[in-house]
Symmetry: C2
Subunit: 230 residues, 2 copies
DNA sequence: ACTAAAGTATGACACGATGTCACCAAATAA
DNA sequence: TTATTTGGTGACATCGTGTCATACTTTAGT
């Protein structure tokens, strides 16, 4: 029953009440409560009722800060967005060995997915029950598709990746990631991080750069394969 | 407002009342009403109330046949499953040019996705709000992953596809399809079928068999690319 | 310090959806 | 015809929602 071991903070812990406005404080308190709630229970159980029961405020206080439970999720998702984009992948920006960078990026992303697993699932569940949130979520996913497409195109220019329309491939890969995180890290106990990260890296690298790169980078999964250069 | 042009029947039209039992008839009537409902309105709007308002029966009659709205979806999904598996892909079973067969299979699948778009979206939405349904849906998706994995493995034996662990790739591809259908055909007006089918085919074929196969098969999308072998 | 205004929080309420139950009606069998 | 089974219903208790009038708290003005 105890909400064991909270995740790395996504939401600011409500700060000492004196320093910031009372309203600000309450709002943060609600957001924080929501994040904690979703850590241990599915989105469908998070009614305004149930959520506000976890903090001293009255249920109606909720409506001072959010339109409804989906409005709350939208606010939470906004925080997630900045978090995500902050750790923006080295692969997307840096120069250097593309395969190595990609591997790094995906590892970092998987790490993040692991940390926020149940919350990510909550967002994708919530998106299914609300049009506005669905848009917001899709927009975020699209941004990923854009970034990845661009990077693919760049490497195609350099001849590192074969020529093909980058977008559908980018979409497929991103969707794959998101679905994997939701399914592997969305429920507790979460699956172990490493195998999931490996599987994802293998699919990306072999899809984009070819199978010969995957060996020896992924930690366990497909050790048998291929030595040669290409 | 008029629920224009109903989809290809997934659910049996309630048959003449005399022949089959009254109960059977009512149950079919409800299932049919639900399918029609979902054709024009999202799952989240389908309350027992709203649904039963579309047929002469009283609201409480619903509970004679289903536990709740998710029970209804489960029943509907079961019908969908048989439909899907009936048209089971030639690529998965037949012999012959694998690329051609795959193209055919995907086209048929896309066609089906197009026909049931809003309903498929409804199922995936409903799965997000109910644990049992989520399992049922995931199981169905897994079955696809299995089938595709097997076929990939078979073609790897024949040297038609490079050696790699088939499962994560199969999963990625299937997830890609499902997400595309939901997003492109899940709302009305639905996107046009052809471009979606092309995009999907291109991703599958180039991922599995290599890029040299995609030209000339896809109807419009990427005519510019690649003549040569690679 | 006192008061007014603004900001914040709450209980009570009306509404709509749910699922159950005791009861009614229709079909069938005796 | 009556008795029994099967199918269907209205009324009800419960729960979640969102709003509103009201009350409490803080801040600013004098």
């Amino acid at each position: 029953m105890s909400p064991n071991k909270s995740p790395k903070r996504l939401v600011v812990e409500p700060e000492p009440i004196a320093k910031i406005g009372r309203a600000e404080h309450t709002r943060a308190e609600i957001l924080d409560a929501a994040f904690k709630f979703l850590w241990s229970r599915p989105f469908r159980d998070m009614t305004v009722n149930a959520l506000m029961a976890t903090i001293p405020q009255s249920r109606t206080a909720f409506y001072m800060y959010f339109d409804d439970i989906h409005g709350l999720m939208a606010a939470l998702l906004k925080k997630l967005e900045s978090e995500i984009l902050k750790g923006a992948s080295p692969w997307l920006c840096d120069d250097g060995d593309p395969v190595a960078l990609l591997y790094e990026s995906l590892a970092a992303e998987a790490q993040f997915g692991y940390q926020c697993g149940p919350f990510i699932k909550a967002v994708s569940d919530a998106a299914a029950t609300n049009a506005g949130l669905e848009d917001q979520w899709n927009t975020l996913l699209d941004r990923f598709d854009d970034a990845v497409s661009e990077r693919i195109a760049a490497d195609q220019e350099l001849g590192l990746i074969e020529a093909f329309d980058p977008r559908p491939v980018a979409t497929a890969l991103n969707q794959f990631d998101a679905a994997k995180y939701v399914r592997k890290f969305g429920h507790r106990p979460r699956s172990r991080l490493q195998p999931v990260a490996d599987a994802i890296a293998r699919v990306w690298i072999s899809t984009l750069y070819g199978h010969q790169w995957t060996t020896g980078r992924t930690s366990e999964l497909y050790r048998k394969q291929v030595p040669g250069s290409h």
